[in-house]
């Protein structure tokens, strides 16, 4: 691959987006002393025992406003969602249950946990990646969903 292919490819987009996510996670842990884990922040909103709702709501608002801020300068990238309604409902339930049981998702374990060298997060990431690979193999190549 030559340089122009590399720059025009999605590798640069992936890397730049990743750096932004890294900066966000760094700011959160250094200033607030907290893990920027989206599933944990969401789960804390519905847990009556968690009294610290304000920062969670504000984090969520920041996340929700991001597509509108992005649109000030650029067109939002195209989004393709192939899964049907039933599949999305099942997937949503599994993601909600799974991330709660595992205390983290792609952000909490995959980014923050691995960054701090947590064996638990490395194991969690290997598990959800493996399950993702197998699920896509089964649905796309064996079942043809």
């Amino acid at each position: 691959m030559n340089l122009s292919d590399f720059i025009q490819s999605s590798y640069i987009a992936g890397l730049s987006g990743g750096l932004l996510i890294g900066i966000a996670a760094a700011m959160f842990v250094l200033l607030n002393g907290r893990i920027a884990g989206i599933s944990g922040i969401l789960a804390g909103l519905i847990d009556a025992d968690k009294g610290d709702k304000i920062w969670r709501v504000l984090f969520l608002l920041g996340l929700m406003i991001s597509p509108f801020v992005y649109q000030i300068a650029f067109d939002l990238p195209a989004v393709t969602i192939d899964a049907g309604t039933g599949q999305l409902i099942i997937a949503g339930l599994l993601v909600g249950l799974g991330t709660s049981y595992a205390s983290g998702c792609t952000s909490g374990h995959g980014v923050c946990g691995i960054s701090r060298g947590s064996m638990r997060s490395i194991a969690a990431t290997l598990c959800f990646m493996l399950a993702g690979f197998i699920t896509v193999y089964l649905t796309r190549h064996l079942l043809g969903l």
Binding site: S10, G14, S16, G18, L19, G22, I23, A24, A25, A26, G33, R34, I35, L42, A43, W55, F59, L61, G62, L63, M64, I65, S66, P67, Y70, V79, T80, A83, G92, L93, L94, V95, G96, T99, S100, Y101, S103, C105, T106, S107, H109, C112, I114, S115, R116, S118, R120, A123, A124, C127, F128, M129, L130, A131, G132, F133, I134, T135, V136, R140
Partner: protein, 138 residues
């Protein structure tokens, strides 16, 4: 200040997800599709994030308090358990079925994707169900 920073972090995080391509489920599934036309660009997302994150967490681990004076709330749990492994496998199945993980689902729902709302509502239901089961166990 803590609350303002939470808002800024949420915003930056969301922008990172959009720039990286993570908010497009078809792209995520392309990354998970090892046997197909594998899109490895999303590996750069995690790589880029960890590159910055590793430095920040190395500093954070040495501190008792954050720069704004709040206690460092890093997990002290070590060792693997059933919840971590089974939960992560279950999450991975849902991720592979939809191409959504929690952050991108919130961003896409906010951007007005009806299908992202279906996923998001159902994910929140999953979290609520887990919460109820856990409560009953106590």
């Amino acid at each position: 200040m803590l609350n303002i920073n939470a808002f800024i972090v949420g915003l930056l995080f969301g922008l990172g997800l959009i720039v990286s391509g993570m908010t497009n489920p078809a792209k995520v599934i392309g990354f998970l599709d090892l046997a197909g036309n594998w899109d490895r660009s999303l590996a750069f997302v995690m790589g880029g994030a960890i590159l910055i994150g590793a430095g920040a967490f190395a500093i954070a681990k040495k501190r008792q308090r954050s720069l704004l004076g709040t206690p460092m709330q890093l997990s002290s749990i070590t060792g693997l358990d059933k919840g971590l492994i089974i939960g992560s496998l279950v999450f991975g199945i849902g991720w592979g079925l939809s191409g959504f993980c929690p952050g991108p689902a919130v961003v896409s729902a906010a951007a007005g994707q009806p299908k992202a709302w279906i996923f998001f509502v159902s994910m929140m239901a999953g979290m609520t169900i887990y919460n109820m089961i856990e409560r009953r166990g106590k």
